[in-house]
């Protein structure tokens, strides 16, 4: 019995570790980068490992720790190897320095992670100068390649990762001229916001859009537009960092013919993280962009339990009912209901909204029956609210989709 894990970030490593803990399986983990650990490798700040390893670590230390644990547990960890082919029903085609090979595993866990949408995908017009990057590139430039990134940077976005970009900029010798978000307020912790304001006097320009980038060969100025007044202004800077606006790295999932969820843009999964293809599971930020590394790792652990049960001869559950969000809700995960899938990771459904709301009432409805209704603490774009899961018992397997909606605010 061989279980293959695709992706050596927190979710994939935690999955490989958990599979080996449940022993009996040959576990092959495939990672396309030369090093294991995924994004935390170049997120050089504290705060990793709280929920899964129960101790605070920096990103690189966290990445190293997981790689060690997975190796010690006896998983085969193959780096510099990429899946270059997969089709519905077909085997995996791997390419790496050892050559090319195909394998047909007994179960598969996809943990390919997510990335930030680059400037082009956000259709920001202007020139195409040097100095425009995502947080991912910024962190690698500063922490892995140890190089200068500019002096004055504009940070696009005001989520957790945007504040992480601030730290990286400071570390790389640059200051942030400001953070810009189209939303009415930042989406991170008040502590981070206050810290940035106090330590570096970084302004957060809310309800403001980045509408053009100018300069050549390097960024010289950006044009910002206040959404409510339509007023534009120029801000001088030499670097623009596009943060957040995550998209799952879902190309493999699409190649493999998995049903995709229109909200998360990741594969549709039930509470066991089983996709629409029997024996294929998905975990971590491939499911939805993006949660913290420890949450991704716990999701990997959860998928491993599902994959282990499947390999032991568990039935392959059919997604009988999908869960769909109504605006302003953005996505819910997991997003399919199968009988006997058990509880979702961490005993909760994660719900995201495109708008802010404080203590809104949320309702889950299937056809004419209300499955659950209650208040959630708050909805913040880019951060997950938790929903309970007991209602899944009441889903009618022959009914229509479960709809999630906000019915009342405040």
């Amino acid at each position: 019995m061989t279980v293959v894990v695709l992706g050596g970030g927190p979710a994939g490593l935690a999955a490989a570790l958990e599979l080996r803990r449940r022993d009996t399986y040959d576990v092959l983990l495939v990672e396309r980068e030369p090093a294991l650990g995924g994004i935390p490798r170049h997120a050089c700040h504290q705060g990793f490992g709280l929920r899964d390893l129960r101790r605070p670590l920096t990103g690189p230390a966290y990445a190293r720790r997981y790689a060690e644990l997975a190796a010690e547990a006896g998983a085969e960890l193959r780096t510099e190897t990429m899946v270059t082919g997969w089709s519905p029903g077909g085997p995996l085609e791997l390419t790496g320095p050892r050559g090319r090979e195909t394998i047909q595993p007994d179960a598969l866990i996809l943990a390919t992670g997510c990335r930030e949408r680059p400037r082009s995908a956000r259709l920001v017009p202007g020139s195409r100068p040097d100095g425009v990057m995502t947080t991912g590139t910024l962190q690698q430039l500063v922490y892995l390649e140890e190089r200068q990134v500019g002096r004055r940077a504009l940070v696009v976005g005001a989520e957790h990762v945007s504040f992480s970009a601030l730290l990286t900029l400071r570390h790389g010798g640059a200051s942030a001229v400001g953070m810009v978000t189209e939303l009415p307020r930042h989406q991170s912790l008040a502590l981070f916001r206050a810290g940035a304001a106090l330590r570096w006097r970084t302004p957060v320009w809310t309800r403001t859009a980045l509408t053009a980038i100018h300069g050549r060969p390097r960024v010289e100025e950006v044009e910002l537009t206040e959404l409510d007044s339509g007023r534009t202004r120029g801000v001088a800077c030499d670097t623009v960092v596009f943060t957040a606006d995550w998209i799952p790295d879902h190309e493999l999932a699409v190649m493999g013919g998995l049903d995709m969820n229109p909200g998360t843009l990741g594969p549709m999964v039930d509470a066991a993280l089983h996709t629409s293809r029997p024996g294929v599971f998905a975990a971590g930020n491939l499911l939805h962009g993006a949660e913290t590394a420890d949450v991704a790792a716990l999701s990997g652990r959860h998928a491993a339990a599902g994959a282990a049960a499947f390999v032991r001869g568990g039935a392959s559950p059919k997604h009988v009912v999908s869960i769909e969000c109504e605006p302003p809700l953005h996505w819910i995960s997991p997003n399919a209901v199968s009988p006997s899938a058990g509880p979702p990771p961490r005993g909760r459904f994660a719900l995201r909204s495109r708008e802010f709301a404080r203590r809104p009432r949320v309702e889950l409805v299937q056809d004419a029956s209300t499955l659950w209704s209650g208040r959630v603490a708050r909805l913040t774009p880019g951060r997950s609210a938790r929903l309970p899961h007991a209602w899944t018992e009441a889903v009618d397997p022959s009914g229509g989709p479960v709809r999630v909606r906000v019915v009342g605010r405040g």
Binding site: R32, E33, P34, E80, M82, T84, T95, G96, P97, R98, G99, R100, R115, E116, R117, P118, R119, S120, A121, L123, P125, G126, S127, R128, M133, T134, G136, T137, Q140, L141, L144, E145, R147, T211, A212, H214, R216, I247, E251, V254
Partner: protein
């Protein structure tokens, strides 16, 4: 014996046209010098176009452009196969979206016949939707142009320049020509920041700046007005939506917005057509992008459900004339190759052939070299042929061809290494991108950007 000139032929501009001319002349016993203002060949107008291999069916019959596009189509098609330039023969569908556009069909077919394109065929709406099922609603019919195809706009000038350099042509990059003057007893003096150069013959292939060079020599034949074209490139996951090049019915002002696959397996939407003032104004604009997205939504609504991978803008060297501005001033030995618009990629080899013939007639001695042209093959960056990562035997010989560095485009460390080496090495990230596809994909450097920057510095001499 002291040579009276530093070089026999100086070619100003290493775009696709200048490179093609350098390649053509390097086959003869001549000293050829190719001067490029920018850091690399093919890095200006040539890199930012729609990358179509045109048959020339829609050119104005009887023009030089019509003749050279038709001839260039054949020449480049053969050459591409020989040296490994990616080409895809997709065919094109010119779609009418209303009765008015449908009424243009007889004229288009007539013009194509006059241009010698005989394979065109009119299709009804039903057949059109069978051939291109993801088209938006409301198409009335189409003309099928089976010969139209795609050609790699990056590899083409690189291949020409590589062959020229291997054959002995001297290539000087980052060498802008600041002034040109005639020498008293014939020939030319070119000034560059790195020093002067004298040449017996001069070829002006300076693209957007060809009119300025022309005026320095006292001519006043044309003026270049940069016409900007903005383009949007969609994710590879959109590629199955599009089977042909989907053309619009041209109007007097523009050929309209097209949707086409790319040789890299993406889908392209564009271009816009706006006259701009500055010859370096390759900015994309809100208005342009909004217009393209609206056109895309109409032509192929599903396309807009996919991620955008890249946005870019190129400048066409448009002039006040409707034809290429190609003139040979025989007594002085000056060839002006100006006003070459977007068809120049397809026509490039025919333009070079034409310039060579005209210079020969003007007295340039053309003795073929004893040695055969250098044998070489360009690294394949197209999706139609095997890429290095797919070749087990190559990886076995050198594991670096199995080490994928750019995940989105599946570019290996071996290819990066090759691009930083060889007769025409990349000197910047853009050059690396055009040689290998690295950094060209959906993540735009999220994963490999930092590593490529480091590789470039390690590779720099």
């Amino acid at each position: 014996m002291q040579e009276p000139f530093d070089t026999d032929v100086a070619i100003v501009g290493a775009g696709v046209v200048g490179c093609a001319i350098a390649r053509e002349l390097a086959r003869f016993r001549l000293r050829v010098t190719l001067l490029e203002a920018g850091p690399d060949v093919g890095a200006g107008t040539s890199k930012a176009n729609t990358a179509l291999l045109h048959t020339g069916f829609d050119a104005k019959p009887g023009t030089l452009e019509a003749r050279l596009v038709a001839r260039g189509y054949e020449l480049l098609g053969d050459y591409a196969q020989r040296v490994g330039i990616p080409v895809e023969r997709t065919g094109a569908l010119l779609v009418a979206w209303n009765e008015e556009q449908l009424a243009e069909f007889p004229g288009i077919l007539e013009r194509a016949r006059a241009n010698g394109s005989t394979e065109l065929r009119e299709l009804g709406a039903d057949e059109l939707y069978r051939l291109e099922p993801h088209l938006g609603p409301g198409a009335h019919g189409a003309i099928e142009v089976p010969g139209e195809g795609l050609v790699c706009p990056f590899t083409t000038p690189l291949a020409y320049a590589t062959e020229a350099v291997l054959a002995g042509c001297e290539l000087r990059r980052s060498t802008p020509v600041t002034t040109v003057s005639r020498l008293e007893d014939g020939g030319f003096r070119l000034a560059t920041p790195g020093g002067g150069l004298t040449a017996r013959y001069l070829v002006n292939a300076a693209g957007l700046h060809s009119d300025e060079l022309d005026r320095m020599l006292g001519h006043d034949g044309f003026m270049v007005t940069p016409r900007r074209g903005e383009l949007i490139v969609f994710d590879k996951l959109a590629r199955p939506l599009v089977r042909h090049i989907v053309l619009a019915v041209p109007t007097k002002v523009t050929k309209g917005v097209l949707i086409a696959p790319t040789v890299f397996g993406n889908v392209m939407l564009g271009p816009t057509a706006d006259d701009v003032e500055r010859k370096d104004d390759t900015d994309s604009t809100r208005r342009g992008l909004d217009y393209l997205m609206a056109e895309g939504r109409r032509i192929m609504p599903e396309l807009l459900g996919h991620e955008v991978t890249a946005v870019y803008a190129g400048l066409r060297a448009a002039t006040e004339h409707s034809d290429y501005q190609l003139s040979i001033h025989a007594p002085e030995g000056y060839a002006c190759v100006g006003g070459i618009r977007s068809t120049g990629l397809s026509a490039s080899m025919a333009i070079a052939e034409h310039v060579r013939e005209e210079l020969g007639a003007a007295g340039l001695r053309l003795e073929p070299k004893a040695a055969p042209p250098p044998g070489f093959r360009m690294p394949n960056i197209g999706e139609q042929a095997e890429r290095p990562y797919q070749r087990a035997e190559l990886i076995e010989g050198d594991p670096d061809y199995g080490r994928i560095v750019c995940f989105c485009e599946r570019v290996t460390r071996g290819e990066i290494r090759d691009a930083l080496d060889g007769p025409l090495p990349a000197v910047d990230l853009d050059g690396l991108r055009r040689r290998t596809r690295a950094h060209m994909g959906r993540c735009q450097g999220f994963f490999c950007g930092a590593e490529l920057v480091a590789e470039l510095e390690r590779g720099a001499p």
